[in-house]
Symmetry: C2
Subunit: 257 residues, 2 copies
């Protein structure tokens, strides 16, 4: 889930999509790659009791590149049936200075994930609101990107920068990187602004725009307070239904891969 | 305007408060310190035509510390009566690597502002959604911080990290730094979650919480599309009225300083 614009629904989409995939029987790994650690608390983990985080993975792999074997699975926590989580806490903000001098600093996350490829059908990674080294690592490690987007003027502004960054990463680091899907979030169909922005997004991205629209729905913002995803806690809410629909759409898009 | 949580209304508050102050006759400078450059486009500037940006200020002052005299005023643009703007474009993302090796990397913005102190009554700075070196520079250069905040669960999570960072900056860089005001944005008084979060924020911050509540109001998100602030374009909208009220509250709080 990438988008440097803040507050567009990256974490909410990562949490509800990964849980939706797990409920459909897919073995799913969710990686929280944001120092805010919202995806971690979205599943109710108590950050003071967590033994290991994504920061430890970056640290071990930067110091001893031959170690990839066990560090990722050491910090992985099973949170629901078919759903594992690699948590993040504030110490992840320390990854940026740590990585800057490492050889191949953009490939560390890819290195770490190489040992778990057979263990999971899906790996979902939640990004911070920036295009710094953590997001570059995510782009280096991903087959495809999902871009959550609000239908707001400022949200359009950031798209050209996001595309530019993706192009550079594709050219220099990960030749198969592409935007698989743009997901419109907090959609209020009655608003003129929403209609205008939706038109622009369709012109810009064509059929990459998900057919599922995620409406603004208070249940989606209430669920994290209970440490649960909305698809689990409020399954018949409009928000949860939209994320279940999105899960089916994503499964259909990638069927056979 | 600082808060590492994304999408909480930092830019919307920076744009409408700075214009409100200018309309009240205060000589105001708005500095866009976010590589997304939303405050810059919020006043309708065409980024392809901008001659100089905040990045140039950082670059000149990192290379030749004796230069502070003219660089800031060289890039400053007058956008409305009593309101000047230091614009930002994507190149500001290049400030982070540039600053990391500079001596006193946290004081560059303060250096730059030292020459304009007599020219303005108010300087408002819009921060990016992170606690990196740009936000640290803002904290180093500020007398007081305004923290825009949404009444959402994830918004509460980030507060302890923000406070920790402010404490470190106060101890090592800027002894007079403090949170002047917390502004609740996109408030929907009918929602239970909003009430709960508002209670927590009042417990946490006491009377630092602004009495003015900024309601969710579509005019606030429509205005940037026209390159105008809402206080100018939709002066009788609920959103603009709230920001005018906030302007009065801020003026009263700081009267006599
Ligand atoms: N469809 C929705 N309806 C209502 N509220 C939503 C919806 N999606 C997300 N939210 C709420 O909006 C806020 C922003 O969403 P979220 O934190 O998922 O965005 P983000 O892009 O991950 O933010 P950041 O840039 O800070 O990482 C959260 O408080 C969340 O609960
Ligand atoms: N009170 C409000 N009512 C309705 N919409 C609002 C309100 N305040 C802000 N918005 C809209 O919500 C979105 C997020 O606001 P804004 O961009 O100001 O937040 P930010 O904290 O500056 O985000 P970032 O973290 O990306 O810098 C914008 O599209 C803006 O137009
Ligand atoms: Mg997030
Ligand atoms: Mg902003």
């Amino acid at each position: 889930m990438v988008n440097q614009k803040g507050g567009v629904g990256k974490t909410t989409t990562a949490v509800n999509l990964s849980h939706g995939l797990a409920q459909s029987g897919m073995r799913t790994l969710l990686i929280d790659c944001d120092p805010q650690g919202n995806a971690t608390s979205g599943f109710g983990l108590d950050k003071s009791k967590i033994k290991g985080t994504l920061f430890d993975v970056f640290k071990v792999l930067t110091d001893n590149p031959d170690e990839p074997d066990s560090i990722l699975s050491d910090v992985t926590v099973n949170v629901r049936e078919n759903l594992d989580l690699v948590p993040a806490t504030l110490d992840l903000a320390g990854a940026e200075p740590l990585l800057l001098n490492a050889v191949g600093k953009e490939m560390i996350l890819r290195d770490a994930l190489s040992v778990v490829e057979d263990k999971y059908d899906w790996v979902i990674i939640d990004a911070p609101p920036s295009l710094g080294i953590l997001t570059i690592n995510i782009m280096g490690a991903s087959n495809g990107l999902i871009v959550p987007m609000q239908c707001e003027f400022y949200a359009l502004e950031g798209l050209s920068q996001l595309i530019k960054t993706i192009d550079i990463v594709r050219r220099r680091i990960n030749p198969s990187l592409l935007i698989e899907m743009v997901v419109l979030t907090m959609v209020d169909q009655r608003s003129k602004l929403t209609q205008q922005v939706m038109e622009e997004v369709h012109t810009f991205f064509g059929d990459k725009v998900a057919k599922t629209l995620v409406p603004r729905n208070v249940r989606l913002s209430e669920a994290p307070g209970h440490g649960e995803s909305a698809v689990e806690l409020f399954p018949s809410s409009k928000g949860a239904m939209a994320y279940k629909e999105l899960t089916d759409e994503v499964l259909k898009l990638c069927a056979g891969r």
